[in-house]
Amino acid sequence: MGAKMFGARVARLEDPRLLTGRGSYTDDFHLPGMLEAAFVRSPHSHAKINSIDTTAAKAHPGIVAVYTAADLPEYLRDMTVPFQVPNPAISQPFQQRLLEDREVCFAGEPIALVVADSRYNAEDAATLVEIDFEILPGASDCKSALEDSAPMCHADSANNEGAKYTVGYGDVADAFANAHLTHREEYWIHRGGGFAIENRAVVAEYDELQDMLTIWSATQSPFLVKQNVVDMLGWESDKVRVIAPDVGGGFGPKTIYYVEEALIPLVAKELGRPVKWVEDRRENFLATNMERDQYWDMEIAVDADGKLLGVRGKMIHDSGAYMPWGIISPYISATTLPGPYILPTYELETRVALTNKVAVTPVRGAGRPQAVFAMERLMDRAADKLGIDRVEIRRRNLIPTEQMPYALGLIFRDGKPMTYDSGDYPKCQAEALRIADYDGFRARQEAARAEGRHIGLGIANYVEGTGLGPFEGATVRIQPSGRICIYTGGGDSGQGHWTTLAQVCADKFGVGVADIDVQKGDTGKIASGVGTFASRIAVNAGSSVHLASMEVREKALKVAAHMLEAAEEDLDIEDGRVVVKGSDLSVGLAEIARAVQGMPGFSLPGGVEPGLEATHYFSPSQSCYCNGTAVVELEVDPATGWVDILKYSMAHDSGTLINPFVVDGQVQGAVAQGVGNALLEWMIYDDNANPVSATFAEYLLPSAPETPNVGVVHIESPSPINPLGVKGAGEGGTIPAPAAIMAAIEDALSPWNVEISGAPITPSMIVEKVRAGA
């Protein structure tokens, strides 16, 4: 009997392939006769198109076809990308056309598609497409965009408000009227993009003999791609197969369906040859969705002990020019704000602004880092004003674990009332402080100050809805060789699904993870699927693997009972064999799998259905809520504004752990993205919404020297709403980072009374604040 796999620190099965250059990412496909595509994109944030001339482009050597909107089949010319997640709060749900030929609304919007024998020739010809633009003013800053004098994002709109809604509960006005202390403050929080190192990419091949279209896409959501291809192009579902091969990072933006994923399959079928398009980094900056600005105008009310009475305010969210993912991100922001605290009353009005920029859709954290920033800053301010320690005010307000499950009074983005399913928030905060050596910090700070060094400590808590439905499925099949294969719908962009899903399955058959294959992200391998986003695979696919494995195990026992002429209750499964307990009688899974393939003319043993396999689609009753605490100790150089993170501590509760090794990696990676958001990453636009920071020389990602090691302590509060007790783990590290880092910078610079109410903060901004406080 092998060692227990579930919960073990197992090294990843994925790695040897990827370490030796044998991965297969979308750009690695070289199909016979394959053509390559390049896009002509709007160089302006907002413009009317008077005319497009493709004559010169078509005459360029190597060019096979040039498409503008007018060259598309008629039914597609005005079709827009299907609206994925409608909501009655959305008043102007603008969606992108495949190719635009009337009015472009962001720099990067596709206008023409050039297909050539090589990418080089396609790009040459793309520069020869002549477009007569009439440049229009662009709506840039989302706060200004909602003012009466703002230029319209879409020329024919009456205003730039895309959606408006209010969430909340309780009598906020009464809470504020009776408060001991209130504090109001405005926050600006900029959240960057995903910037996976692999850009987006699509390869499509139409097989005329089989009337089958196969699409390889660097996507997190192959089933979403398939559904949209079917819906937009009107093809039969069983004639379209979408495969997410190795995907070089996702982080949210690759969840969304893009027009390129409709156009490349379309032209591959039209031209009768495979077509590849690989986004370059400039296109990625211009045309891949990101997150951006939110403005929060917030007020907190507390009693004399620092107990929360209420929070109220208004938030403005930059949506960009289109709303492919509706209001998911700002809605998550609004519902994340109360966090782990007993907040008796709450009200937030959100206005979603249309701006002439690429669409905002979730990036790792998905609206939560912004909300946590607002709430944690308010907590810090209330503590400071009351003269209570910032840690202590939190401790006084945390929901005690005895109150779990805890109904918040809000409806989450899954349409279900928000009920925190489990968690021990006081313990989580205490553990983070313990590994951060919080008790010793003030002495360290004093000693540092005596040396003229300025160190500070910041803390931030969060609760995160994870494991969202509707479902994810898994087929578990024992092959005639005895090898186990798992099929699941969501793609893998680095999460290690092969390893972790194999761990869920292995113990049911007493095998090691190396005896199990996992094929993921292929619509040809399982009937239904959703995708890898919203920290949902462990919960949904993991539970499905568990349930399907149990069913296969039961079937194996039933068939083996017939084969061994033994009672089922006398059987067990060890090392991939069904054994009669206390005897040396056994039968291998391979033999059982062959037995249920049947023999011509004979009945199946035990009257079972053929095949040693089962499929389950786990659908959670609601989200499960992960939580965590970040404690950051850092040093600031007041002369240069440089921030050096000395010690980053994180207590993280994502329920039961399948593989702590993998979860550590998720937390560490997520923290790095949070550090980037706090100190480096800033997508800058000019006043007309034209992008200014569209290279990695201007938009700074965290590199190794400025990224801290993260000390992680895991709290395991099993979720009661799925069979594994797991919760999502992919995003938690990012969420509290900007809040905790800003708090620590303030603490370090307390001699100058520095207050920070925005993110990111750059060295020059810090120097300015120090000078203002001197």
């Binding site: 990827l18 370490l19 030796t20 990072g249 290279t695 590199s703 190794a704 020297p705 090691n709």
Partner: protein, 165 residues
């Protein structure tokens, strides 16, 4: 109309003679002409480091070089690091053992960069490792597993040398 030259480049011990456009980048030559797709392209402006290869034993960004510039040179790519088809190089093994990769896209550039670095500095500090990979972006790992892998690999490689001496 395009300018073409015949070049001869040795990659992982095998010599490839090809006629190429003079404007073809070395990365595209390696990936799309020789079909060694382990070398990745992430930014095409020399910042992300995913395309890093070893040219005559020194790191180079293959997205910033033309294929014709590699004429007559020897290149090692990620496919050429492991000693054979079944074993991993100690650095690769250390990456697996320390969870030094997630999506695997930056990994080839990390490996080639660290091969050169550990050759120059067999007993590095953590800070030196961080500086060494400061020109390679990773969005998945937060670098922690990569740094741990590099330090672990340094020990393994030193152990190998001691054992061989």
């Amino acid at each position: 109309m395009s300018d073409r030259r015949t070049i001869s480049v040795t990659i992982n011990g095998e010599t490839y003679e090809r006629e190429v456009e003079t404007r073809l980048t070395l990365a595209d030559f390696i990936r799309h002409e020789v079909l060694l797709t382990g070398t990745h392209v992430g930014c095409e402006h020399g910042v992300c480091g995913a395309c890093t290869i070893l040219l005559d034993g020194r790191t180079a960004r293959s997205c910033l070089m033309l294929a014709v510039q590699a004429n007559g040179h020897e290149i090692t790519t990620v496919e050429g690091i492991a000693p054979n088809d079944t074993e991993l190089h100690p650095l690769q093994q250390a990456f697996q053992d320390n969870h030094g990769l997630q999506c695997g896209f930056c990994t080839p550039g990390m490996l080639t960069t660290l091969i050169e670095f550990l050759g120059d500095n067999p007993d590095p500090t953590e800070q030196e490792v961080r500086e060494a990979i400061s020109g390679n972006l990773c969005r998945c790992t937060g670098y922690q597993g990569i740094v741990a892998a590099a330090l672990d690999a340094a020990k393994r490689l030193q152990g190998q040398e001691t054992a061989g001496a």
